[in-house]
Symmetry: C2
Subunit: 206 residues, 2 copies
DNA sequence: GTCTATACGCAGATAGAC
DNA sequence: GTCTATCTGCGTATAGAC
């Protein structure tokens, strides 16, 4: 479980602290000093465990993406007997939103990266996620074709969906100012999940 | 018109180039050298026109927000005789999306800022936009109460909406990788606008 | 594995010539 | 208004002691 607060080794502790720093301040806004200070060691010691700052960043991302993939895979596979159409989508959607709510650092990490023009990741995040995207598009094509979901353009629908979901958890600071209350309070998160489900049902349930 | 490519003074040229740099690479990822080089002057000359890097950033933001406010104000006010319910919302929505499509730098600028933990802006962007947000909430309350729009939680609706819209234009680079084509091509933008309108109509039209 | 010391460059900002 | 020169601090990364 990559996303808990405890570290079993210095290497793990570095990754944990680096994830926090990178997600809050981005790649350029984070220094090896920041990471080292959070761990309680010196800058040079961080570079004993990783060859460079970029290597730390890439390791953080690798861990995060692997963890995310596992969760979604499990959620998609776990359907019961009457798991189809809106029922299935609603279940996966709810799992996904809850996971994002539990892992806001991941969301902010991805956002920083997808916003960046030149990347420090070594590969293109969009391209890397394309197979996932295609899987989702195929799913919607099938369900809409069979009349189990109302017809919309699947690609556009997914883009709207991930925007509506990720936004909330990436822009927590902004929303705090906008709403005048804590968007990550438990009841606020529950309300958000409910709203996302309602909105998608209104648009998709046949 | 603040968002065109021509600069009538060095100060304007600095703001223009700074907006490009900040929106692509964020505050920390942009140096005064980058800005100066884009303008064709030296670092010290930039600091003749602005007292500090933060001052440049704030001036860029001030200009962008003022321009945005003007456009929305005009769009909201410009209704014809049968301008109410979904018709009105659809019109304002379309204007807003088109403006974002024309000003992706603004979108990325706001995104960087709302993502940042500690800001270089000097004020809280969320708080500054709260009056706008409240105005929109009141509008939805009125329309939904009168039965001219389907009932949803207005706050949640607006959060979903701005997420679905802003995402597309802020994550252009990411989407290029994800879709395997240019999301800012004219027909792609038209398709996006159409999809947003369809999706909102499906959820909101009574 | 962690440390200090050090190399080296680039950052933001200021002083002063032209 | 723009420049060069300079100050000062922090950045990444490496060498080598313990």
């Amino acid at each position: 479980m990559a996303y808990d607060g405890e570290a079993s080794s210095t290497r793990e502790a570095i990754l944990l602290e680096a994830r926090r720093c990178f997600s809050d301040h981005g790649y350029e806004g984070t220094s090896l000093n920041d990471i080292a200070a959070g761990v309680g060691i010196r800058r040079a010691s961080v570079l004993h465990h990783f060859p460079s700052k970029e290597a730390v960043y890439q390791a953080v991302f690798e861990q995060a993406l692997a963890d995310w993939g596992d969760r979604i895979d499990r959620a998609v596979a776990h359907g019961g007997p009457d798991d189809e159409g809106w029922t299935h989508l609603d279940r996966v959607l709810t799992v996904a939103v809850r996971w994002f709510a539990d892992n806001p650092e991941f969301v902010r990490l991805v956002r920083h990266e997808s916003l960046a023009a030149g990347t420090h990741l070594g590969f293109d995040l969009g391209e890397a996620l394309r197979p996932w995207f295609q899987r989702a598009v195929n799913y919607f094509d099938r369900e809409m074709g069979a009349g189990r979901l109302r017809k919309h353009d699947p690609e556009q629908l997914i883009i709207s969906g991930y925007g509506a979901i990720l936004n909330y958890f990436s822009d927590v600071h902004f929303l705090h100012g906008l709403l005048g209350r804590d968007p990550m309070a438990e009841e606020a998160i529950e309300a958000r999940i409910q709203a996302i489900r309602d909105f998608f049902r209104a648009a998709l349930e046949p």
